[in-house]
Protein backbone atom coordinates (compact mmCIF):
# COMPACT_ATOMS: atom_id res chain seq x y z
CA UNK A 1 0.00 0.00 0.00
CA UNK A 2 2.75 2.35 1.05
CA UNK A 3 4.78 1.30 -1.94
CA UNK A 4 1.86 1.94 -4.29
CA UNK A 5 1.21 5.36 -2.78
CA UNK A 6 4.89 6.16 -2.96
CA UNK A 7 5.02 5.17 -6.61
CA UNK A 8 1.90 7.19 -7.35
CA UNK A 9 3.31 10.28 -5.67
CA UNK A 10 6.65 9.81 -7.36
CA UNK A 11 5.05 9.41 -10.77
CA UNK A 12 2.86 12.45 -10.25
CA UNK A 13 5.89 14.41 -9.12
CA UNK A 14 7.78 13.26 -12.15
CA UNK A 15 4.84 14.16 -14.35
CA UNK A 16 4.72 17.63 -12.86
CA UNK A 17 8.42 18.10 -13.11
CA UNK A 18 8.41 16.77 -16.63
CA UNK A 19 5.64 19.16 -17.64
CA UNK A 20 7.63 22.10 -16.38
CA UNK A 21 11.13 21.06 -17.19
CA UNK A 22 11.22 18.45 -19.91
CA UNK A 23 12.50 19.79 -23.19
CA UNK A 24 12.65 17.00 -25.70
CA UNK A 25 14.88 17.79 -28.62
CA UNK A 26 16.40 15.85 -31.48
CA UNK A 27 20.15 15.56 -31.36
CA UNK A 28 22.23 18.11 -33.21
CA UNK A 29 24.76 16.76 -35.69
CA UNK A 30 27.67 17.70 -33.48
CA UNK A 31 26.24 15.81 -30.48
CA UNK A 32 28.03 12.63 -31.45
CA UNK A 33 31.69 12.47 -32.25
CA UNK A 34 33.06 9.40 -34.04
CA UNK A 35 36.82 9.29 -33.72
CA UNK A 36 38.72 7.07 -36.11
CA UNK A 37 42.50 7.55 -36.27
CA UNK A 38 44.05 8.64 -39.56
CA UNK A 39 45.61 5.21 -40.09
CA UNK A 40 42.50 3.30 -38.98
CA UNK A 41 41.78 0.07 -40.90
CA UNK A 42 38.08 0.99 -40.93
CA UNK A 43 36.46 4.09 -42.41
CA UNK A 44 33.11 5.61 -41.57
CA UNK A 45 30.76 5.31 -44.53
CA UNK A 46 27.56 6.46 -42.92
CA UNK A 47 25.97 7.47 -39.65
CA UNK A 48 22.36 7.72 -38.61
CA UNK A 49 21.05 8.91 -35.26
CA UNK A 50 17.51 7.73 -36.02
CA UNK A 51 15.13 8.37 -33.14
CA UNK A 52 17.82 9.71 -30.80
CA UNK A 53 16.77 12.51 -28.50
CA UNK A 54 18.03 14.60 -25.62
CA UNK A 55 15.69 15.55 -22.82
CA UNK A 56 16.39 18.14 -20.14
CA UNK A 57 15.08 16.91 -16.80
CA UNK A 58 15.69 19.56 -14.20
CA UNK A 59 19.43 19.88 -13.71
CA UNK A 60 20.15 16.70 -15.68
CA UNK A 61 20.27 15.88 -19.34
CA UNK A 62 18.92 12.49 -20.37
CA UNK A 63 20.21 11.30 -23.70
CA UNK A 64 18.72 8.40 -25.60
CA UNK A 65 21.03 7.64 -28.48
CA UNK A 66 20.25 5.18 -31.21
CA UNK A 67 23.26 5.19 -33.46
CA UNK A 68 23.69 3.20 -36.65
CA UNK A 69 27.13 3.26 -38.19
CA UNK A 70 28.35 1.80 -41.43
CA UNK A 71 32.05 1.01 -41.44
CA UNK A 72 34.20 -0.16 -44.33
CA UNK A 73 37.27 -2.36 -44.09
CA UNK A 74 39.97 -0.31 -45.83
CA UNK A 75 42.80 -2.61 -44.78
CA UNK A 76 44.29 -5.48 -46.76
CA UNK A 77 43.31 -8.10 -44.12
CA UNK A 78 40.03 -9.73 -43.22
CA UNK A 79 38.51 -8.27 -40.07
CA UNK A 80 37.26 -10.72 -37.43
CA UNK A 81 36.30 -8.32 -34.66
CA UNK A 82 35.81 -4.62 -33.88
CA UNK A 83 35.47 -2.87 -30.53
CA UNK A 84 34.23 0.69 -30.15
CA UNK A 85 34.62 2.65 -26.93
CA UNK A 86 31.63 4.76 -25.87
CA UNK A 87 32.03 7.60 -23.38
CA UNK A 88 29.86 10.52 -22.39
CA UNK A 89 32.88 12.77 -22.07
CA UNK A 90 36.45 11.76 -21.38
CA UNK A 91 36.34 13.49 -18.02
CA UNK A 92 32.81 12.45 -17.10
CA UNK A 93 32.03 9.95 -14.39
CA UNK A 94 29.31 7.36 -14.71
CA UNK A 95 31.17 4.72 -16.61
CA UNK A 96 32.68 3.83 -19.90
CA UNK A 97 31.10 1.41 -22.31
CA UNK A 98 32.26 -0.72 -25.17
CA UNK A 99 30.49 -2.31 -28.08
CA UNK A 100 32.29 -5.40 -29.37
CA UNK A 101 31.27 -7.16 -32.54
CA UNK A 102 32.84 -10.61 -32.60
CA UNK A 103 32.42 -13.28 -35.24
CA UNK A 104 32.94 -10.93 -38.18
CA UNK A 105 34.51 -12.03 -41.42
CA UNK A 106 34.79 -8.80 -43.38
CA UNK A 107 37.00 -8.79 -46.44
CA UNK A 108 38.98 -5.80 -47.74
CA UNK A 109 36.68 -3.17 -49.21
CA UNK A 110 33.54 -4.68 -47.64
CA UNK A 111 31.19 -2.68 -45.44
CA UNK A 112 29.44 -3.74 -42.26
CA UNK A 113 26.96 -2.16 -39.83
CA UNK A 114 27.46 -1.41 -36.13
CA UNK A 115 24.51 -0.48 -33.97
CA UNK A 116 24.97 1.41 -30.70
CA UNK A 117 22.02 2.06 -28.43
CA UNK A 118 23.01 4.03 -25.39
CA UNK A 119 21.38 6.00 -22.63
CA UNK A 120 23.19 8.73 -20.75
CA UNK A 121 22.36 11.00 -17.87
CA UNK A 122 24.64 13.82 -16.92
CA UNK A 123 24.45 17.34 -15.49
CA UNK A 124 22.95 19.70 -18.05
CA UNK A 125 25.36 22.47 -17.15
CA UNK A 126 28.38 20.38 -18.08
CA UNK A 127 30.69 22.21 -20.47
CA UNK A 128 29.99 22.03 -24.21
CA UNK A 129 31.38 19.60 -26.72
CA UNK A 130 29.85 16.40 -28.06
CA UNK A 131 27.45 14.54 -25.78
CA UNK A 132 28.84 11.19 -26.79
CA UNK A 133 32.19 10.15 -28.15
CA UNK A 134 32.68 6.88 -29.96
CA UNK A 135 36.31 5.89 -30.38
CA UNK A 136 37.82 2.89 -32.08
CA UNK A 137 39.44 0.75 -29.40
CA UNK A 138 40.56 -2.16 -31.49
CA UNK A 139 40.30 -4.21 -34.66
CA UNK A 140 41.26 -7.90 -34.76
CA UNK A 141 42.27 -9.44 -38.06
CA UNK A 142 42.02 -13.01 -39.30
CA UNK A 143 45.71 -13.66 -38.55
CA UNK A 144 45.14 -12.45 -34.94
CA UNK A 145 47.10 -9.26 -35.57
CA UNK A 146 45.60 -6.23 -33.90
CA UNK A 147 45.17 -2.51 -34.45
CA UNK A 148 44.04 0.07 -31.92
CA UNK A 149 44.76 1.98 -28.73
CA UNK A 150 43.47 -0.99 -26.68
CA UNK A 151 42.36 1.13 -23.72
CA UNK A 152 39.77 -1.50 -22.77
CA UNK A 153 42.02 -4.56 -23.32
CA UNK A 154 40.19 -5.27 -26.54
CA UNK A 155 43.16 -7.14 -27.94
CA UNK A 156 42.96 -9.84 -25.27
CA UNK A 157 39.15 -9.97 -25.24
CA UNK A 158 38.87 -10.25 -29.01
CA UNK A 159 41.74 -12.74 -29.28
CA UNK A 160 40.16 -15.01 -26.66
CA UNK A 161 36.83 -14.78 -28.46
CA UNK A 162 38.52 -15.66 -31.76
CA UNK A 163 40.31 -18.62 -30.13
CA UNK A 164 36.96 -19.91 -28.88
CA UNK A 165 35.47 -19.38 -32.32
CA UNK A 166 38.28 -21.34 -33.98
CA UNK A 167 37.84 -24.11 -31.38
CA UNK A 168 34.09 -24.35 -32.00
CA UNK A 169 34.32 -24.15 -35.79
CA UNK A 170 36.88 -26.96 -35.72
CA UNK A 171 34.49 -29.07 -33.63
CA UNK A 172 31.63 -28.42 -36.08
CA UNK A 173 33.84 -29.28 -39.04
CA UNK A 174 34.84 -32.56 -37.37
CA UNK A 175 31.17 -33.36 -36.80
CA UNK A 176 30.35 -32.55 -40.39
CA UNK A 177 33.17 -34.75 -41.67
CA UNK A 178 32.19 -37.66 -39.41
CA UNK A 179 28.39 -37.55 -39.45
CA UNK A 180 27.43 -35.23 -42.29
CA UNK A 181 24.59 -32.71 -42.17
CA UNK A 182 22.45 -34.70 -39.68
CA UNK A 183 25.24 -34.68 -37.07
CA UNK A 184 25.78 -30.94 -37.56
CA UNK A 185 22.06 -30.31 -37.30
CA UNK A 186 21.83 -32.33 -34.06
CA UNK A 187 24.66 -30.30 -32.55
CA UNK A 188 22.98 -27.01 -33.48
CA UNK A 189 19.64 -28.14 -32.06
CA UNK A 190 21.40 -29.03 -28.78
CA UNK A 191 22.88 -25.51 -28.72
CA UNK A 192 19.45 -23.94 -29.23
CA UNK A 193 18.02 -26.08 -26.43
CA UNK A 194 20.92 -25.12 -24.15
CA UNK A 195 20.46 -21.45 -25.02
CA UNK A 196 16.92 -21.60 -23.69
CA UNK A 197 17.60 -23.77 -20.66
CA UNK A 198 20.66 -22.11 -19.12
CA UNK A 199 19.49 -20.37 -15.94
CA UNK A 200 20.34 -16.67 -15.76
CA UNK A 201 21.28 -14.48 -12.83
CA UNK A 202 20.77 -10.75 -12.71
CA UNK A 203 23.53 -8.91 -10.96
CA UNK A 204 24.86 -5.66 -9.63
CA UNK A 205 28.38 -4.63 -8.74
CA UNK A 206 29.20 -1.86 -6.34
CA UNK A 207 32.73 -0.54 -5.97
CA UNK A 208 34.10 -1.55 -2.56
CA UNK A 209 31.74 -2.60 0.21
CA UNK A 210 28.12 -1.54 0.40
CA UNK A 211 27.58 -2.02 4.12
CA UNK A 212 29.27 0.52 6.29
CA UNK A 213 27.49 0.55 9.59
CA UNK A 214 27.62 -2.09 12.23
CA UNK A 215 23.86 -2.51 12.59
CA UNK A 216 23.45 -3.35 8.91
CA UNK A 217 26.43 -5.68 8.98
CA UNK A 218 24.96 -7.47 11.99
CA UNK A 219 21.63 -7.78 10.21
CA UNK A 220 23.13 -9.83 7.37
CA UNK A 221 25.79 -12.05 8.92
CA UNK A 222 28.59 -12.90 6.54
CA UNK A 223 30.53 -16.12 6.18
CA UNK A 224 33.74 -17.05 4.43
CA UNK A 225 32.75 -19.49 1.69
CA UNK A 226 35.47 -21.70 0.21
CA UNK A 227 35.54 -22.12 -3.57
CA UNK A 228 34.98 -25.60 -4.95
CA UNK A 229 37.60 -25.80 -7.69
CA UNK A 230 37.03 -27.24 -11.16
CA UNK A 231 40.42 -28.32 -12.56
CA UNK A 232 41.35 -28.67 -16.23
CA UNK A 233 44.29 -31.02 -16.80
CA UNK A 234 45.81 -28.93 -19.60
CA UNK A 235 45.26 -25.51 -18.01
CA UNK A 236 48.47 -23.49 -17.64
CA UNK A 237 47.08 -22.22 -14.33
CA UNK A 238 46.39 -24.46 -11.36
CA UNK A 239 43.83 -23.34 -8.82
CA UNK A 240 45.10 -23.86 -5.24
CA UNK A 241 42.32 -22.56 -3.00
CA UNK A 242 39.95 -19.65 -2.79
CA UNK A 243 37.15 -18.03 -0.89
CA UNK A 244 34.63 -15.19 -0.96
CA UNK A 245 32.74 -13.42 1.80
CA UNK A 246 29.12 -14.41 1.31
CA UNK A 247 26.17 -12.69 2.94
CA UNK A 248 22.67 -13.49 1.73
CA UNK A 249 22.62 -12.63 -1.97
CA UNK A 250 25.91 -10.76 -1.82
CA UNK A 251 29.44 -11.99 -2.45
CA UNK A 252 32.40 -9.75 -1.87
CA UNK A 253 36.17 -9.89 -1.95
CA UNK A 254 36.45 -13.09 -4.00
CA UNK A 255 40.02 -14.37 -3.97
CA UNK A 256 41.68 -17.46 -5.46
CA UNK A 257 45.29 -18.60 -5.12
CA UNK A 258 46.74 -19.67 -8.45
CA UNK A 259 49.98 -21.28 -9.59
CA UNK A 260 51.51 -20.96 -13.05
CA UNK A 261 52.38 -24.50 -14.12
CA UNK A 262 53.41 -23.52 -17.64
CA UNK A 263 56.93 -22.60 -18.70
CA UNK A 264 55.91 -19.08 -19.77
CA UNK A 265 55.18 -15.95 -17.80
CA UNK A 266 51.49 -15.13 -17.48
CA UNK A 267 50.17 -11.55 -17.52
CA UNK A 268 46.44 -12.13 -17.16
CA UNK A 269 44.26 -14.77 -15.55
CA UNK A 270 40.48 -14.86 -15.68
CA UNK A 271 38.56 -17.25 -13.49
CA UNK A 272 34.94 -18.11 -14.01
CA UNK A 273 32.75 -18.54 -10.98
CA UNK A 274 29.56 -20.45 -10.47
CA UNK A 275 27.02 -19.96 -7.68
CA UNK A 276 24.71 -22.65 -6.35
CA UNK A 277 21.49 -21.99 -4.45
CA UNK A 278 20.20 -24.07 -1.50
CA UNK A 279 18.15 -26.21 -3.91
CA UNK A 280 21.33 -27.18 -5.76
CA UNK A 281 20.65 -25.13 -8.90
CA UNK A 282 23.86 -23.74 -10.35
CA UNK A 283 24.25 -20.44 -12.21
CA UNK A 284 27.15 -18.84 -14.01
CA UNK A 285 27.90 -15.76 -11.91
CA UNK A 286 30.64 -14.10 -13.91
CA UNK A 287 34.37 -13.71 -14.02
CA UNK A 288 37.10 -12.97 -11.53
CA UNK A 289 39.93 -11.38 -13.52
CA UNK A 290 43.37 -10.32 -12.45
CA UNK A 291 43.82 -6.57 -12.79
CA UNK A 292 46.57 -4.01 -12.80
CA UNK A 293 50.18 -4.92 -13.43
CA UNK A 294 49.67 -8.66 -12.94
CA UNK A 295 52.70 -10.80 -13.69
CA UNK A 296 53.14 -14.44 -12.77
CA UNK A 297 56.45 -16.06 -13.71
CA UNK A 298 56.70 -19.70 -14.77
CA UNK A 299 56.18 -21.87 -11.67
CA UNK A 300 55.16 -18.88 -9.55
CA UNK A 301 52.07 -18.57 -7.34
CA UNK A 302 49.93 -15.59 -6.39
CA UNK A 303 46.41 -14.59 -5.47
CA UNK A 304 43.74 -13.20 -7.82
CA UNK A 305 41.49 -10.96 -5.76
CA UNK A 306 38.87 -8.25 -6.18
CA UNK A 307 37.38 -6.05 -3.47
CA UNK A 308 34.05 -5.19 -5.06
CA UNK A 309 30.65 -6.32 -3.83
CA UNK A 310 28.47 -8.34 -6.17
CA UNK A 311 24.80 -8.94 -5.51
CA UNK A 312 22.66 -11.41 -7.39
CA UNK A 313 19.03 -12.09 -8.04
CA UNK A 314 17.18 -14.69 -10.05
CA UNK A 315 13.72 -14.05 -11.50
CA UNK A 316 13.54 -10.79 -9.59
CA UNK A 317 14.16 -12.42 -6.20
CA UNK A 318 17.37 -12.14 -4.15
CA UNK A 319 19.52 -15.18 -4.82
CA UNK A 320 20.63 -17.11 -1.75
CA UNK A 321 24.25 -18.14 -2.28
CA UNK A 322 24.93 -21.59 -0.91
CA UNK A 323 28.11 -22.65 -2.68
CA UNK A 324 30.76 -21.02 -4.87
CA UNK A 325 32.80 -22.82 -7.54
CA UNK A 326 35.65 -21.56 -9.70
CA UNK A 327 37.44 -22.58 -12.89
CA UNK A 328 40.09 -21.14 -15.20
CA UNK A 329 38.36 -19.33 -18.05
CA UNK A 330 41.18 -17.51 -19.81
CA UNK A 331 44.94 -17.04 -19.56
CA UNK A 332 47.10 -14.54 -21.43
CA UNK A 333 50.82 -15.16 -21.55
CA UNK A 334 53.42 -12.38 -21.52
CA UNK A 335 54.04 -13.01 -25.24
CA UNK A 336 50.41 -12.16 -26.05
CA UNK A 337 49.21 -15.73 -26.67
CA UNK A 338 45.87 -16.61 -25.13
CA UNK A 339 44.69 -19.93 -23.68
CA UNK A 340 41.01 -20.84 -23.42
CA UNK A 341 39.51 -24.15 -22.18
CA UNK A 342 39.16 -26.79 -24.89
CA UNK A 343 35.93 -28.59 -25.73
CA UNK A 344 36.82 -31.65 -23.67
CA UNK A 345 37.40 -29.46 -20.59
CA UNK A 346 33.86 -28.18 -20.88
CA UNK A 347 32.19 -31.40 -22.02
CA UNK A 348 33.76 -33.42 -19.18
CA UNK A 349 32.47 -31.09 -16.46
CA UNK A 350 28.81 -31.67 -15.53
CA UNK A 351 28.80 -28.36 -13.66
CA UNK A 352 30.00 -26.34 -16.66
CA UNK A 353 27.65 -28.20 -18.99
CA UNK A 354 24.88 -27.07 -16.70
CA UNK A 355 25.80 -23.38 -16.49
CA UNK A 356 27.90 -22.27 -19.46
CA UNK A 357 25.89 -20.58 -22.18
CA UNK A 358 26.77 -21.38 -25.80
CA UNK A 359 29.87 -19.57 -26.99
CA UNK A 360 29.66 -16.53 -29.26
CA UNK A 361 30.48 -18.66 -32.31
CA UNK A 362 27.96 -21.34 -31.35
CA UNK A 363 25.33 -18.63 -31.00
CA UNK A 364 26.27 -17.06 -34.33
CA UNK A 365 26.19 -20.36 -36.21
CA UNK A 366 22.95 -21.42 -34.52
CA UNK A 367 21.38 -18.10 -35.65
CA UNK A 368 22.57 -18.77 -39.16
CA UNK A 369 20.99 -22.23 -39.11
CA UNK A 370 17.69 -20.85 -37.78
CA UNK A 371 17.54 -18.05 -40.36
CA UNK A 372 19.01 -19.69 -43.45
CA UNK A 373 19.10 -23.44 -42.91
CA UNK A 374 21.69 -26.21 -42.86
CA UNK A 375 23.05 -25.54 -46.35
CA UNK A 376 23.99 -21.96 -45.43
CA UNK A 377 25.64 -23.21 -42.24
CA UNK A 378 27.75 -25.73 -44.14
CA UNK A 379 28.76 -23.01 -46.62
CA UNK A 380 29.71 -20.72 -43.74
CA UNK A 381 31.98 -23.38 -42.21
CA UNK A 382 33.72 -23.81 -45.55
CA UNK A 383 34.74 -20.13 -45.51
CA UNK A 384 37.19 -20.74 -42.66
Amino acid sequence: MYSKTKNRVAILALAGAAAVLAQDAPLANNSVNINLPADSPVALLGISTGSSRATARGPALLLDLNLSLTLRNISANRIHGVTLRVVSQEVALGGVGSVFQPGLNIGPGEAFPVHISTKLMRPAQMAGGPLVQVNLDGVLFQDLSFYGPDQLHSRRIMTASEMEAQRDRAAFKRLLAQGGNPALKDAIVKILVRQDSIPQLEGRIVRGHTVTNAALAAATPARQEQFALVEFPDSPIQLMKGSAVVSGNEARSPAIEVRNRSNKAVKYVELGWVLTDPAGRAYMAGSLPSTGAFSLPAGGATEVRQENTLSFSANGQPFSIQRVSGFVNQVEFADGQVWVPNRRNIDDSPLLQQVLPPSVEEERLANLYVNKGIAALVEELKKY
Binding site: A60, G94, G95, V99, Q101, T220, G286, V360
Partner: protein, 192 residues
Amino acid sequence: MRHPNRATLALHAGRDLGPFRRWTTARHLAHCQACREEVARFDEMREQLPRLAELPDIPWNRLAAEIKANVRLGLAAGECVRPAEMPLRGGLLVGRGGVAGWRAAVAFATVVLLVGGCMVLERPWPVAVAQAASSVQSTADGIQGQTGGQMLGLMNRGAQRVTYTLGAEGSMGARYTDPETGYVTINTVYVQ
Protein backbone atom coordinates in the same frame (compact mmCIF):
# COMPACT_ATOMS: atom_id res chain seq x y z
CA MET B 1 -7.96 15.40 -30.80
CA ARG B 2 -8.03 16.12 -27.07
CA HIS B 3 -5.07 14.53 -25.31
CA PRO B 4 -5.11 13.31 -21.70
CA ASN B 5 -2.94 15.45 -19.45
CA ARG B 6 0.48 14.25 -18.28
CA ALA B 7 -0.73 13.23 -14.84
CA THR B 8 -3.32 10.95 -16.42
CA LEU B 9 -0.70 9.41 -18.69
CA ALA B 10 1.63 8.95 -15.75
CA LEU B 11 -1.11 7.26 -13.71
CA HIS B 12 -1.98 5.10 -16.70
CA ALA B 13 1.66 4.02 -16.98
CA GLY B 14 1.54 3.10 -13.29
CA ARG B 15 -1.73 1.13 -13.71
CA ASP B 16 -3.19 3.48 -11.13
CA LEU B 17 -6.19 4.82 -13.05
CA GLY B 18 -9.72 3.77 -12.24
CA PRO B 19 -11.44 1.37 -14.65
CA PHE B 20 -13.30 4.03 -16.67
CA ARG B 21 -10.36 6.44 -16.97
CA ARG B 22 -8.13 3.51 -17.84
CA TRP B 23 -10.49 2.47 -20.61
CA THR B 24 -10.83 5.98 -22.10
CA THR B 25 -7.07 6.55 -21.89
CA ALA B 26 -6.34 3.17 -23.49
CA ARG B 27 -8.73 4.06 -26.32
CA HIS B 28 -6.94 7.36 -26.86
CA LEU B 29 -3.52 5.67 -26.78
CA ALA B 30 -4.60 3.22 -29.45
CA HIS B 31 -4.80 6.15 -31.88
CA CYS B 32 -2.20 8.59 -30.57
CA GLN B 33 1.47 7.90 -31.19
CA ALA B 34 2.66 10.94 -29.19
CA CYS B 35 0.82 9.88 -26.05
CA ARG B 36 2.00 6.28 -26.44
CA GLU B 37 5.58 7.56 -26.48
CA GLU B 38 4.88 9.65 -23.41
CA VAL B 39 3.51 6.59 -21.59
CA ALA B 40 6.55 4.59 -22.69
CA ARG B 41 8.79 7.25 -21.14
CA PHE B 42 6.85 7.07 -17.88
CA ASP B 43 7.21 3.30 -18.01
CA GLU B 44 10.95 3.70 -18.27
CA MET B 45 10.94 6.04 -15.30
CA ARG B 46 8.84 3.58 -13.33
CA GLU B 47 11.42 0.91 -14.02
CA GLN B 48 14.13 3.16 -12.61
CA LEU B 49 12.20 4.03 -9.46
CA PRO B 50 12.50 0.74 -7.55
CA ARG B 51 16.21 0.69 -8.20
CA LEU B 52 16.62 4.22 -6.89
CA ALA B 53 14.95 3.16 -3.68
CA GLU B 54 16.66 -0.21 -3.61
CA LEU B 55 17.77 -1.33 -0.17
CA PRO B 56 19.44 -4.44 1.08
CA ASP B 57 17.12 -7.06 2.54
CA ILE B 58 17.15 -5.98 6.19
CA PRO B 59 14.90 -7.23 8.99
CA TRP B 60 13.69 -3.82 10.17
CA ASN B 61 11.46 -5.21 12.90
CA ARG B 62 14.36 -7.10 14.40
CA LEU B 63 16.55 -4.01 14.28
CA ALA B 64 13.82 -1.92 15.91
CA ALA B 65 13.46 -4.54 18.66
CA GLU B 66 17.22 -4.54 19.19
CA ILE B 67 17.30 -0.75 19.51
CA LYS B 68 14.45 -0.83 22.03
CA ALA B 69 16.23 -3.58 23.96
CA ASN B 70 19.46 -1.55 23.99
CA VAL B 71 17.62 1.53 25.27
CA ARG B 72 16.01 -0.52 28.05
CA LEU B 73 19.39 -1.99 28.91
CA GLY B 74 20.89 1.49 29.10
CA LEU B 75 18.11 2.68 31.40
CA ALA B 76 18.48 -0.41 33.61
CA ALA B 77 22.24 0.13 33.81
CA GLY B 78 21.67 3.77 34.77
CA GLU B 79 19.30 2.56 37.48
CA CYS B 80 21.96 0.20 38.88
CA VAL B 81 24.65 2.86 39.23
CA ARG B 82 22.29 5.45 40.75
CA PRO B 83 23.59 6.03 44.34
CA ALA B 84 20.30 6.37 46.18
CA GLU B 85 16.57 6.76 45.68
CA MET B 86 15.85 10.40 44.91
CA PRO B 87 12.26 11.39 44.56
CA LEU B 88 11.48 13.42 41.49
CA ARG B 89 10.40 16.83 42.56
CA GLY B 90 9.93 20.11 40.84
CA GLY B 91 9.53 20.58 37.12
CA LEU B 92 10.14 18.10 34.42
CA LEU B 93 13.48 19.48 33.34
CA VAL B 94 14.63 21.33 36.42
CA GLY B 95 14.66 19.36 39.66
CA ARG B 96 16.16 19.96 43.06
CA GLY B 97 19.94 20.04 42.78
CA GLY B 98 19.56 19.53 39.02
CA VAL B 99 19.64 15.69 39.28
CA ALA B 100 16.01 15.06 38.44
CA GLY B 101 16.31 17.53 35.57
CA TRP B 102 19.30 15.64 34.23
CA ARG B 103 17.43 12.34 34.40
CA ALA B 104 14.42 13.83 32.72
CA ALA B 105 16.59 15.27 29.97
CA VAL B 106 18.22 11.88 29.34
CA ALA B 107 14.82 10.19 29.31
CA PHE B 108 13.46 12.82 26.93
CA ALA B 109 16.48 12.50 24.63
CA THR B 110 16.08 8.71 24.69
CA VAL B 111 12.43 8.98 23.70
CA VAL B 112 13.30 11.41 20.90
CA LEU B 113 16.03 9.04 19.72
CA LEU B 114 13.68 6.07 19.86
CA VAL B 115 10.89 7.84 17.98
CA GLY B 116 13.34 9.23 15.45
CA GLY B 117 14.91 5.81 15.00
CA CYS B 118 11.53 4.20 14.50
CA MET B 119 10.58 6.84 11.91
CA VAL B 120 13.79 6.21 10.02
CA LEU B 121 13.21 2.47 10.14
CA GLU B 122 9.60 2.83 9.03
CA ARG B 123 10.43 5.20 6.18
CA PRO B 124 13.98 4.26 5.32
CA TRP B 125 15.95 6.09 2.69
CA PRO B 126 18.80 4.60 0.75
CA VAL B 127 22.06 4.03 2.56
CA ALA B 128 24.13 6.97 1.43
CA VAL B 129 27.35 5.06 0.92
CA ALA B 130 25.71 2.39 -1.20
CA GLN B 131 23.94 4.93 -3.38
CA ALA B 132 26.91 7.26 -3.75
CA ALA B 133 29.25 4.44 -4.74
CA SER B 134 29.86 3.61 -8.38
CA SER B 135 27.84 0.66 -9.53
CA VAL B 136 26.92 -1.27 -12.63
CA GLN B 137 23.86 -3.45 -13.05
CA SER B 138 21.59 -5.13 -15.54
CA THR B 139 18.24 -3.49 -16.30
CA ALA B 140 15.18 -4.64 -18.19
CA ASP B 141 16.69 -3.74 -21.55
CA GLY B 142 20.39 -3.22 -21.03
CA ILE B 143 23.20 -2.59 -18.61
CA GLN B 144 24.03 0.66 -16.90
CA GLY B 145 26.81 2.14 -14.85
CA GLN B 146 26.13 4.90 -12.38
CA THR B 147 28.29 7.29 -10.41
CA GLY B 148 26.55 9.96 -8.41
CA GLY B 149 24.04 11.66 -10.69
CA GLN B 150 25.67 10.46 -13.90
CA MET B 151 24.73 7.34 -15.76
CA LEU B 152 25.82 5.51 -18.87
CA GLY B 153 23.81 2.60 -20.20
CA LEU B 154 24.19 0.38 -23.24
CA MET B 155 20.87 -0.99 -24.33
CA ASN B 156 19.89 -4.20 -26.07
CA ARG B 157 16.32 -3.30 -26.97
CA GLY B 158 14.51 -5.82 -29.07
CA ALA B 159 17.05 -8.59 -28.47
CA GLN B 160 15.49 -12.01 -27.97
CA ARG B 161 18.04 -13.68 -25.69
CA VAL B 162 20.56 -11.76 -23.66
CA THR B 163 23.38 -13.34 -21.69
CA TYR B 164 24.69 -11.14 -18.89
CA THR B 165 28.14 -11.55 -17.36
CA LEU B 166 29.58 -9.82 -14.34
CA GLY B 167 33.26 -9.06 -14.02
CA ALA B 168 34.25 -8.86 -10.37
CA GLU B 169 36.68 -6.05 -11.24
CA GLY B 170 33.65 -3.82 -11.90
CA SER B 171 32.20 -4.51 -15.32
CA MET B 172 29.06 -5.99 -16.74
CA GLY B 173 28.54 -7.43 -20.19
CA ALA B 174 25.44 -8.21 -22.21
CA ARG B 175 25.68 -10.55 -25.19
CA TYR B 176 22.88 -10.72 -27.73
CA THR B 177 22.12 -10.87 -31.40
CA ASP B 178 21.39 -7.32 -32.51
CA PRO B 179 18.00 -7.32 -34.25
CA GLU B 180 19.10 -4.42 -36.48
CA THR B 181 22.40 -5.80 -37.79
CA GLY B 182 21.95 -9.55 -37.17
CA TYR B 183 25.44 -9.66 -35.62
CA VAL B 184 26.24 -11.06 -32.21
CA THR B 185 27.13 -8.00 -30.14
CA ILE B 186 28.72 -7.74 -26.71
CA ASN B 187 28.10 -4.53 -24.79
CA THR B 188 30.18 -3.90 -21.69
CA VAL B 189 29.88 -1.12 -19.14
CA TYR B 190 32.82 -0.48 -16.82
CA VAL B 191 32.49 1.20 -13.46
CA GLN B 192 34.96 4.01 -12.95
